[in-house]
Symmetry: C2
Subunit: 169 residues, 2 copies
DNA sequence: TTTTTTGCAAATCGTTTGCACGCTG
DNA sequence: CAGCGTGCAAACGATTTGCAAAAAA
């Protein structure tokens, strides 16, 4: 198999335990690749894409195929340990789901910074809207695109205008 | 050129005038293809994708290439006559921007119905959040996925759960 | 006539898949 | 040892692009 837990971790982390339970429940196998990917995901502290994750696994010495990275990210999303977002780009972005608290995103069109926020009143309002439309909400995604405080003044107007038109939201 | 305005329209519609002005302003050319695409867009009454639009143009006798359809949709988005959304799928969806009023979407994970809504208080709340984060909002996208009134009871639990995991939001 | 647009087909790019072999349970 | 999982490379599907021919200004 050739892939070890990075570093000297001996005991199972919370997320390892959860993933193991998930796999067992579905009669899927607990492989070294799957655990290595899980751990690589939880080593990151912000959003990333499949390509970057694949690259970082390669750097750590393991040589896990892109296909397996995609397949495993998929499992992790199903299992609730990873969240999948687009952040306005046409390819998928992921983030470790450390707590269970969902959040939404402010995305800077100039520097690509992502600011997370959580507002219970926003969630409540959405539930209210759904109730009114007799709709049962199961998932939602709110992304606000614009300029962060640092970019407010120094952004190229027409470049930004063009980016807005190209957003994949 | 071989492409005519569908039907017997003689005078310019509001959106034709706007598109013409936009093109002139950018020193771009007013071609039959561009006008045919604009009109095909405004003939539709809901969301569509580039492929469907291309097909409907073919049916009307014009034979406009997919490339031109994409290029023109792009112009229409820049010009504000068309809105681009993803609605959770991995390919782009479009809709004619008939009025200037933006709206958000409820999307049924079972039957794919799209319900539009506009809530000023939701917009206000978002502005408030942005102000608090010193963020200048320019565009936003809120999509709520779930089950519509008709599908609430008859939806296959695991199929839906799987769709949520695959959403491209 | 000059400049932009078009259609075509090839190129991209992220993602998925079929298959033969390898590992887990 | 019976299945699942993996890597590989090919397949995919939406979108984009280079280029020569065609149309608009």
């Amino acid at each position: 198999m050739g892939i070890h837990n990075a570093g000297s971790r001996k005991s199972h982390t919370k997320e390892e335990l959860r993933f193991e339970g998930f796999l067992r429940g579905k009669k899927l196998k607990l492989t070294g690749e799957r655990m290595a990917i899980l751990n690589a995901v939880f080593l990151r502290n912000s959003h990333f894409d499949a390509e970057a994750l694949h690259a970082s696994l390669r750097d750590k010495g393991g040589d896990i195929s892109r296909a397996t990275v995609y397949r495993t990210l998929d499992l992790l999303v199903q299992c609730g340990l990873v969240r999948k977002n687009s952040l306005g780009s046409s390819h998928a972005n992921y983030e470790a789901a450390r707590d269970n608290e969902h959040h939404d995103h402010l995305i800077c069109l100039n520097c690509n910074k992502v600011i997370e926020f959580y507002r219970p009143d926003l969630e409540t309002l959405q539930d209210e809207i759904c109730k009114q439309k007799a709709f049962k909400p199961m998932h939602h995604s709110l992304q606000i695109f614009g300029l962060c405080n640092e970019c407010k003044d120094k952004a190229d107007e027409s470049k930004i205008r063009n980016r807005v038109a190209q957003l994949h939201t």
